[in-house]
């Protein structure tokens, strides 16, 4: 089934640990995005990429990094997790029209 796959679905992590959330799409979309969803705040853009090899910062990029080695994969890395990064993370892709979302990764940082 075409779409976006995120992993892990859920993770509990100790503060200070490094964590990578994986995102893979099979729709050959150029643009990919990482959002975090927090109660009362809606979705906030962390990082984005318009094509393989390029990335850009969203509105809440601090503490996160991304890479885009190819069209399909767009991993999000927390170099040293902090409790404020407890959230649900969504990867999305687009070809300038609507966004297609993954099912999310629920991350808890203790």
């Amino acid at each position: 089934i075409a779409g976006i796959t995120q992993a892990p679905t859920s993770q509990i992590l100790a503060a200070g640990r490094r964590m990578t959330l994986r995102c893979t799409q099979d729709m050959r979309h150029n643009a990919m995005y990482w959002y975090r969803q927090d109660l009362g705040l809606g979705l906030r853009l962390i990082h984005y990429s318009n094509t393989a090899g390029t990335t850009g910062k969203g509105e809440v990029p601090d503490g996160y990094s991304v890479s885009r080695a190819n069209t399909d994969d767009f991993p999000l890395t927390l170099a040293s997790a902090v409790p404020s990064q407890t959230s649900v993370y969504f990867c999305a892709s687009s070809n300038t029209g609507e966004l297609f979302f993954g099912e999310g990764s629920r991350l808890t940082v203790l």
């Binding site: 976006i4 150029n30 643009a31 995005y33 959002y35 009362g40 705040l41 809606g42 979705l43 853009l45 984005y48 990429s49 318009n50 094509t51 390029t54 850009g56 969203g58 969504f90 999305a92 687009s94 300038t96 029209g97 609507e98 966004l99 297609f100 979302f101 993954g102 099912e103 999310g104």
Partner: protein, 117 residues
């Protein structure tokens, strides 16, 4: 700056009654507007979009939305609500600025719809 507002945190409606979920926007240029639905522990699913043309846009699951340029609104509607429509609904606008080779999307804070049997 582009922005989206969903003034209601929650909307309650009886099953079979019409429903409206409100959205207003602020953009420069022509707006590209979207509605998404999120069921518990799931990702967001696309419902419908307005880019140009007819002000009444029809989408998935019997939903429709009315674009009103003078009121800068894009309210989501359904003639007859179902209990299964209970979910979190997000309005979004595509940023008209093409920065770094792609568009950004700005989301409202979401409205929880509860349809009562």
């Amino acid at each position: 700056a582009q922005s989206v507002a969903q003034p209601e945190d929650q909307v309650n409606v009886a099953e079979g009654n019409p429903l409206t979920v409100k959205c207003t926007y602020s953009v420069s240029g022509n707006p590209y507007l979207f509605w998404y639905v999120q069921y518990p522990n799931r990702g967001l699913q696309f419902l419908l979009k307005y880019i140009t043309g007819d002000n009444l846009v029809k989408g998935s699951y019997g939903f429709e939305a009315e674009f009103n340029k003078s009121q800068t609104s894009f309210h989501l509607k359904k003639p007859s609500a179902l209990v299964s429509d209970s979910a979190l609904y997000f309005c979004a606008v595509r940023d008209s600025y093409y920065l770094s080779g792609t568009y950004k999307y700005i989301f409202g804070t979401g409205t929880r719809l509860k349809v009562l049997a």
